[in-house]
């Protein structure tokens, strides 16, 4: 009994290490509230442990994301959240960085606004691709959709970005 318990704990720890931050990020893309995302992720993993759910880190990742999605949906139904990503946007250093902080902040706000214009699924997919550098196939597996669908979503996201950011910065 004890040995089985120890083994179960090791498996759970592995699942946690592999997916906790990914799930938490995914939830953040959905609600733009880091506290809420953390809480829901913690609740989800607590539930997995308490219900002794057998979750295979490879086969069942779509299930993990589905459960997280359901939980955040029911949370957001009760709590109205104003989406705003500007606080967590970072701009990597490159040759053509904006000259002043004001411009820098403005860019963040614009970027956030574009994100808000995207349909939910498009935004989530885009941020998973951009933020975590996941391959399309990997995102498709996690969200349980076809790679084609991911490609479509990414195209739309990039089109929106190109159109809005170019117009604003020009």
């Amino acid at each position: 009994m004890l040995k089985a318990g120890k083994l179960r704990k090791e498996e759970f720890k592995k699942l946690f290490d592999t997916y906790f931050d990914a799930i938490r990020r995914y939830l953040y893309y959905r609600c733009s509230d880091s506290e809420l995302a953390s809480d829901v992720a913690q609740d989800l993993f607590t539930r997995i442990w308490e219900k002794s759910m057998q979750i295979d880190p490879v086969k069942d990742k779509a299930l993990l994301y589905k459960m997280a999605s359901d939980m955040i949906v029911s949370k957001l139904r009760r709590k109205k959240v104003e989406l705003n990503y500007s606080g967590s946007i970072i701009i990597e250093e490159s040759g053509n960085t904006p000259e002043t902080n004001v411009e820098y902040e403005q860019l963040k706000i614009q970027y956030s606004e574009v994100l808000l214009k995207m349909p939910e699924k498009v935004r989530t997919t885009f941020l998973m691709s951009r933020g975590e550098e996941l391959k399309y196939a990997e995102i498709a597996e996690r969200l349980n959709v076809s790679v084609k669908a991911i490609e479509k979503r990414m195209n739309l996201a990039l089109t929106l970005l190109r159109r809005d950011l170019r117009r604003e910065t020009e």
């Binding site: 442990w49 946007i89 990597e92 951009r130």
Partner: protein, 267 residues
């Protein structure tokens, strides 16, 4: 330009911290406890029944009983540090579980209390109750006899009526059950039994004999149909024969040894 932009949520706690603060604990609780929980549900009725029995018996476990036999004096310390001296043939009962909610003892016999200051302290006897806050006092309750003497502080004695006595005052229950104030020049005499000295002032002889029987654990045969009143004292340092001689001499009685006991006969 937009390739350089990324979303990086600002987490208050890292996943390692969340594991350490939350999951380390819940995963350390072994699954055995969950199985036990199922069993508990199954036998809930029996557990509940057992719990009720235990709860019902709990006060009995904490019920303390102190008994002094004939010829024996016992000193006992209560949970709050108050000291009770039990005279011979006295029974004292208290509950240490509810002691700190309500200080109180049941008593039958004679006892001298030195109560620590604090909440109300009650001595219950079958003849009446004595309430104090923190004083020294003596309670005598045997048969229908009930007497309380206050050595220091204030004492409330309640039977059919209520009397508050102060230092060097006492009450005694009269035949009609009413508490009557008594004042003697030296109230210390009523508690001198602690030091094995017994004073009697105008006490019926049979009561004196009873006290001798209690203190020396002997049987004394004695014709009670008289109204001898005794005033005097004896010390337990004397032998039983000496004491009986002191007590019986004024009434012209003589002591005869009868087996393990004695008999007082007219000369």
């Amino acid at each position: 330009m937009n390739d350089k932009m990324k979303i990086e949520p600002k987490w208050k706690r890292s996943s390692e911290e969340i594991w350490r603060d939350h999951f380390e604990e819940i995963t350390s609780v072994d699954k055995v406890s969950r199985l036990d929980f199922a069993l508990i549900k199954k036998y809930a009725f029996y557990y509940a029944a057992a719990a009720i029995v235990v709860i019902a018996l709990l006060p009995l476990l904490f019920s303390k009983n102190v008994v002094s036999l004939r010829g024996e004096h016992i000193s006992c310390t209560l949970p709050d540090g108050s000291v009770v001296n039990l005279n011979a043939e006295t029974e004292l009962t208290y509950n240490s579980l509810i002691w700190f909610i309500s200080r109180g003892v049941k008593m039958n016999g004679e006892a001298y209390f030195e109560v620590e200051k604090g909440a109300k302290f009650t001595v219950r006897t079958k003849n009446g109750d004595v309430r104090v806050l923190g004083t020294k006092f003596n309670v005598f309750s045997r048969g229908d006899e009930f007497a309380v003497t206050c050595i220091t502080g204030r004492v409330e004695v309640k039977s059919e009526n209520k009397v508050i006595i102060e230092k060097n005052e006492g009450v005694r229950m009269a035949n009609n059950g009413e508490l009557k104030l008594i004042s003697e020049p030296d109230m210390g005499n009523t508690i001198s039994w602690k030091d094995d000295v017994f004073y009697f002032t105008s006490v019926p002889l049979n009561k004196v004999i009873e006290e001798v029987m209690r203190q020396y654990d002997v049987d004394i045969e004695y014709a009670e149909n008289n109204n001898y009143i005794y005033t005097g004292n004896f010390s337990k340092e004397s032998t039983i024969e000496e004491v009986l001689e002191i007590v019986s001499l004024p009434f012209g009685l003589r002591t005869e040894k009868r087996g393990n006991g004695y008999k007082l006969v007219s000369q």
